[in-house]
Symmetry: D2
Subunit: 213 residues, 4 copies
């Protein structure tokens, strides 16, 4: 099995992005799978091109994209990406999107095909706070999730893929008031466990999840 | 023009639901539109049947469903409903859903056809905190949003519809710690303005919105 | 009985201060007490001089000072003021205090002599979210609470006094994300009830309160 | 120099207390100081007796008491303890206090004599989120802070002392929603740095702190 794991470069004024910082630290486990790491620009379009090229070259079995969700309290596994770019801030090349389809005429949304709840269960059993999320927002993270699933649906139907959001690092919240964080070690360990759960579960399990709103 | 506005009955242990409490208080404006009010049970399936019957009978131009989002800080206009029932709590008839499609084989998601950002703009100009939301959760609120849009798509293509979430009332947060609320008067006024914006804007406007995650 | 109620002018970049906005709206109840209203500058020292002059002139039985606590969810009645000015922002005349005693050599702290828990009970019974707070911060609000109690202790031992914090108004949180607010009508009504409870209870009651930290 | 550092046993339904868990892991640095560790029962009265006996026996130069502040986002150094026991929950022996003085007729409050802002600066320079807090609540943590400072004032005037609050551990927030946490390693490192700053700074430094409310 081969797993491609991607992380964004910093955006929104932050000097680092915990996603790729944690990915850099991840130890592969050759007995489990080949692990390919990729840094992705926080740019509409270009992010998907970068991922598309790596997917074409590496032909992974599983693609896990990882992004920063500043303000969230735990590692959250995204269930769905929607066909909408809409952002209050420009991406890293100054593109400012409002009400724009990612794929013109494409499906309204795609569900992740990672074993999302199995990942959450694996993390929680290892004492790492985690949950399923039902919105990846409308910035480049959702753009990549939707675009990845569209790519898989249209070109690589046997591939599985999805998206994981991680909190700020402690060093990023030092001068913010009352913003949660998670240690780099714990994020890294969480991603290692997410890879493990993704390799070991080709189908998702039942594990109580859901949001009332 | 005729507008059907619906609100849920209480759920999740709350003695009241601010959605229908506010709808009961709404004053119609006959010069603007006919306003039809409907209370809907917080039950998977039955909620959609109730709405379906009212839509068939009333043939409204616009359907606005309203629900409680306990813990949210403002009136949030939902942009998208996804094809997934997944709840940590049972509905009001004890149905407990996990990983269940709302429409078997249906589209993954539907976007609301209300002028969502025009509604947000209208509310904010009237000093009522409001925003666009990109997830209605996975409980009966999302169920109704997705099901309504499916109904519209398949049977009433000229109808427009969508969903609005409202915060707890002050009386509901009395014994909760650090949970936000909004006065009944403000929620009611917000819904009146949402009806107005929905009647006056057949297409949505551009008004900066979006979530990074 | 005569009650002096004071509210600050706007500070910290806000165009209004909900404290004095609400006080302006308060209706007196001559059967209950004479109500004297006073606007106070958000300035170390000057705020206390202003209050001191009004107290000397009016000789009220009770003094209730009111301030804005942006970010709090309810009306909070302050139990204690400490002998410390320490602020991250300058006051309205540019004074920037760190680690400064309010009264050199004065007591470390004074407890409010309002019937704090009776006020909280009165508000909650009228469906207004309220709680006892055990810190008024270290800016001009705490400065006024400590200074008022010092004045009472040293010059007017029969007078009673204290401090109440109120949340932002909805119009103040329009462009903040996830910040709670309370309607002006509810804040005003809460202050009227606080005056009533203060007149009717010369001693505080027992009403379960407290913070674990 | 000798430093006594104390941590509470678990309370409030939690199976562990991050305070003493972190203290157990702390490595002493004999070149810096002798470090004496003490577990303290979360019980009004008994907690202070336990500390009083250890202080009498060990005659430390500095006493740092540490407690859990579930829901806080960072390591917070308490500036003041007030003469008030008031709790919504019973202590670990079922004592339920409301409106009770800790020392009958004692001072209203004592300020910590740790170099609080020097500690915060030391932690932040080492990338550990930290701040000064101006309320230790009204449960056993505040009880211990006030009681310790009273003991020092009345019996050991050359001793210095104070209190530090630490967040939940990640494993404690697993089934809470949106509650922040900090890794055990980071809490432990934070306490080691607090000891260092306390030994190296006999007086506090100026380092911008303060709360508007």
């Amino acid at each position: 099995m081969k797993v491609l794991i991607t992380g964004f470069d910093p955006f929104g004024g932050e000097p680092i992005n915990p996603a790729y910082e944690a990915i850099k630290m991840m130890k592969g486990n050759p007995k489990l799978c080949d692990l390919v790491k990729l840094e992705v620009p926080t740019v509409f379009g270009k992010s998907l091109e970068t991922i598309g090229e790596a997917v074409e070259k590496e032909r992974p079995d599983v693609v896990i994209c990882v992004g920063q969700a500043g303000g969230r309290f735990d590692i959250s596994v995204e269930r769905v990406g929607i066909n909408l770019d809409e952002a209050r801030i420009p991406d890293n090349e100054g593109n400012f999107h409002q009400g724009k389809s990612i794929v013109e005429g494409g499906e309204n949304a795609y569900f992740s095909t990672l074993p999302n709840r199995a990942i959450v269960k694996e993390l929680k059993e290892n004492r790492i706070p985690a949950s399923v999320s039902y919105s990846a927002g409308t910035f480049v993270c959702n753009h990549v999730l939707y675009g990845l699933m569209h790519l898989i649906k249209t070109k690589y139907p046997d591939m599985r893929g999805g998206f994981i959001h991680v909190p700020f690092l402690p060093e990023q919240v030092m001068d913010k008031r009352n913003v949660p964080s998670m240690s780099l070690e714990m994020i890294c360990r969480g991603l290692e466990l997410a890879v493990k759960a993704s390799v070991e579960n080709t189908e998702d399990i039942n594990y109580v999840s859901g949001e009332t709103h």
